[in-house]
Amino acid sequence: MYSEHLFQTYSTNTAVINEEGTPFFYHDLFSLAEEIYSHLGHRCLVFSFCSNSIESLAGYIAFLSHKVVPLLLDATMDSELVKKLISVYQPEYLWIPTSHICDFDTWERLLSQGNYTLIRLQVEVPFPLHDNLALLLTTSGSTGSPKLVRLSYENLSANAESIAEYLDINGEERPITTLPMHYSFGLSVINSHLLKGASLLLTNRSLMEKEFWSFLKSGEATSLSGVPYTFEMLKKLRFFRLDLPHLKTLTQAGGKMNIDLNREFAEFCHSHDKQLFVMYGQTEATARMSYLPPQYALSKLGSMGIAIPGGEFSLIDEKGKTILASEEVGELVYKGRNVSLGYAESGHDLIKGDENKGTLITGDLAKRDADGFYYIVGRKKRFIKIFGNRVNLDETERLLKNIISECACTGTDDHMLIYINDLSRRDEVIHYISTKTGIHPQAFSVKYIDRIPKNSSGKTIYSRLIA
């Protein structure tokens, strides 16, 4: 989707405004990207360490426009976890903030652009890449799991087109970044807006910083996107009392928002000439699968809406049979051109083709009302969302077993419970898991249990670990 043609079409539009207020036109962004690609010169695998900065974005454009395959990672990811991923996937290059370069094995500096550096690593025989493979994203980035989602060029353009259509994005839009770029939801904001010649307000500042709000005002941001936790912060910040005439659109995904909070935002938007889009998505479907049209934000409160343009939902029962009746709970299935090719768990998987064939069995339990609106009611898989990020509970257990022999992880969104049998190690456990995952310690609680309940084959019985 990032063809030279796109950058020519919007050549003199502003693509990016940074925190200092400096504009970068589409042709500027393209020139920066071309400079980076000139040092690569061939299709290969790159690890790109993301931040909401012009350099990070230029790297992404360089890779996508020249069919170089990037794995997008958090620039602040734990260096031990980074090294493990490097050993599994053997990238030829790294695009990384200069301050984050650490003791990689045999590396060479090729280019510095702003705060970023392009590094070549010594790779004897790189893994072959499938022709359709465009981009790799992590499934649970914070735990360093090597399980990645494989996305195609068609996936990216299909999802960006669809999002731009239902949000009615045009070149006048100015979204401000509130989500990281390596996160599929954050990336989808970037893709869907650049596709239409809009201007991104790039910042790494959090909502809790004064600089974020002065940038939002001076940049005349027209939209902001958030996970449920973002909306809790907005409420805490007395968002409803702020006068932000340019801000017209709020989009929410990354988990189900508390219903009362959802109502407050829906009512506020309704009475202040703003639009609230509640959405649902997964990295496995590039980013988004559903949206609730804003005119239904109140009458269909709690719903994740309907399938995005070009997509289709169905529900299946435990035997895999399609459920036709309304109000009956089943597993949510999505069909569309944005459904990923599949997963990769090692470098050998990068040659794999399309395994999903356009159908994603989501692992989420949902029901449909008589008007065709869908509601998420639960999950089949063992993960929770913490501040919008999927955290696999088996992965965090595996990490914790590096320091403690017996433990079990469970919990609800934004709150993980860790059961151990030695409470004297409580602080150590929280410190370790928080450092490894980069998630604030406030999201973790440790509970005592004298023995982790297990079945005869040694598997933990999580249903007996009720909070």
């Binding site: 809790m208 004064k210 974020f212 968002f239 604030h440 406030q442």
Partner: protein, 78 residues
């Protein structure tokens, strides 16, 4: 407990500064003082002192010392 003791206790428990002088504490110097930590801090202070801070004061609350000045505007003498 005096207001100052309460204020100090909240900062100490939350950011565990390991003997660092509280006067030196800023949101840039403590890793735990990120957006999640900040939201928790504000909620705890509001409950403890029975006040509701305005938007500008919440985002301006960038250090231990700055916080004292802000609370004073709400009639909380530390």
């Amino acid at each position: 407990m005096t207001n100052l003791e309460k204020y100090n206790e909240i900062f100490t428990n939350r950011f565990n500064p390991n003997g660092v002088d509280l006067d030196q504490l800023t949101n840039q110097s403590v890793q735990l003082w990120d957006s999640v930590g900040h939201m928790g801090l504000i909620a705890e202070l509001e409950e403890c002192f029975n006040i509701r801070l305005d938007t500008f004061d919440i985002i301006d609350f960038s250090s231990y010392c700055k916080g004292k000045e802000i609370l004073l505007q709400y009639g909380i003498v530390l």
